[in-house]
Amino acid sequence: MGPLIAHQHRLSCVSEAETLKATKPTPEIRFFLTRRKSKQVGTFIFMNVINKPVSERTQPKTNGSAALPAGTPAPDFELKSTPDQTVRLSEFRGQPVVLAFYPADWSPVCGDQMALYNEMLSEFQEYRAELLGISVDGPWCHAAFCHDRKLHFPLLSDFEPKGDVARRYGVYCDKDGVCERALFVIDAEGVIYWSYVSPIGVNPGAAGILSALEEMKNKKETK
């Protein structure tokens, strides 16, 4: 067997489209490969950030853009959540907000990431946190995607001017014309508490969000 190609099996379970990626190597975290002694050839390795403390994870950056860091007031915005409704960030002042920027509806990893968050809404609600997904897809596209995947949280369209909100958060990928895969946890006062940019092909999961929400809650209680 030649060099083991790490494929992305885990971010799966969404649709037949998924199976396409099984044959397609992605520049993934495969840190276990670092321990393979003889077979690794030019393996591209990302840090495994999932299990690090929040403070160590807050170092976003990819594609030359810099995500707004913790401590920055979250820029307010108003975006369409459906073809005839809008959502304004400041409406949620007084409660935590999780912003999940992602590249595109329908693509396998995004689908999985949103599917995971969809199952976690009750967890987020325990922290009174509102979850908002954001991509440059239009509201009709979001509507179809939400319907197909039975998503129970709003997907916002950063559609016109395209990517404007993502740019203001420092997470727009000019090269591809999409949002990066970026997470922001915003506190009740509207200040970014934690942010993280994931490699574009990697589902960042929910562990970072949950620990940020937990930390925020504990800090508030000890005040």
């Binding site: 971010l11 495969r30 998503l151």
Partner: protein
């Protein structure tokens, strides 16, 4: 590799459904969804790995049903837990993965009968969500520990992000044992 005993991604005696000895040198934990096709693909691979490693492996299964995506996943997980309440978790676990395309309530009831369980009691527990708290606890723990899809495996407490094949899994398990 040294792993703290409190690591939540190691098998937990008295809590997890475990095959093999908790004292086995290699621990494999799977977070799975009975309706997930990728978990279905992983099922025979895990079986083969278990066969190869024998009593050197401790395997634990935890629930991670993606219920919005897989409409039968929640009830299937309930059925496995309800079978566990009658002492037959693994038999039900195996039947479910061997019959992923037939996971309606009527199918679950049939599997309970096939296993010689009290199928009426099992279905009452499934319908009333008698084991929902346990399933949710698995799910929450998984999400906190880096499970971001199914199946997700942890080898000796460390997430395995590699290829899902018998060969790759065996190699990873073997290395972890060094």
């Amino acid at each position: 590799m040294s792993v703290a005993k409190s690591n939540p991604t190691l098998p937990i005696e008295g809590h997890d459904h475990i095959q093999g000895s908790i004292k086995a040198p290699v621990a494999l934990v799977e977070y799975g969804d009975y309706e997930c096709p990728y978990c279905g693909q992983a099922y025979p691979i895990v079986k083969a790995v278990q066969k190869r490693l024998g009593n050197r492996l401790c395997f634990a299964f935890r629930n991670f049903p993606l219920a919005n995506m897989h409409p039968h996943a929640e009830h299937a997980a309930e059925a496995a837990e309800a079978a566990a309440a009658q002492g037959r978790f693994w038999e039900m676990h195996d039947l479910l993965y061997e019959n992923q395309v037939a996971l309606d309530d009527a199918d679950l009831e049939e599997y309970a009968s096939t296993l010689g369980l009290d199928s009426q009691r099992l279905m009452e527990e499934v319908r009333s969500g008698a084991h929902t708290a346990r399933i949710r606890e698995d799910f929450r723990g998984g999400a906190r520990n880096g499970v971001n899809g199914t199946p997700t495996f942890f080898i000796n407490g460390e997430r395995y992000d590699g290829e899902l094949s018998e060969e790759a899994l065996l190699e990873a398990l073997g290395e972890s044992d060094e």
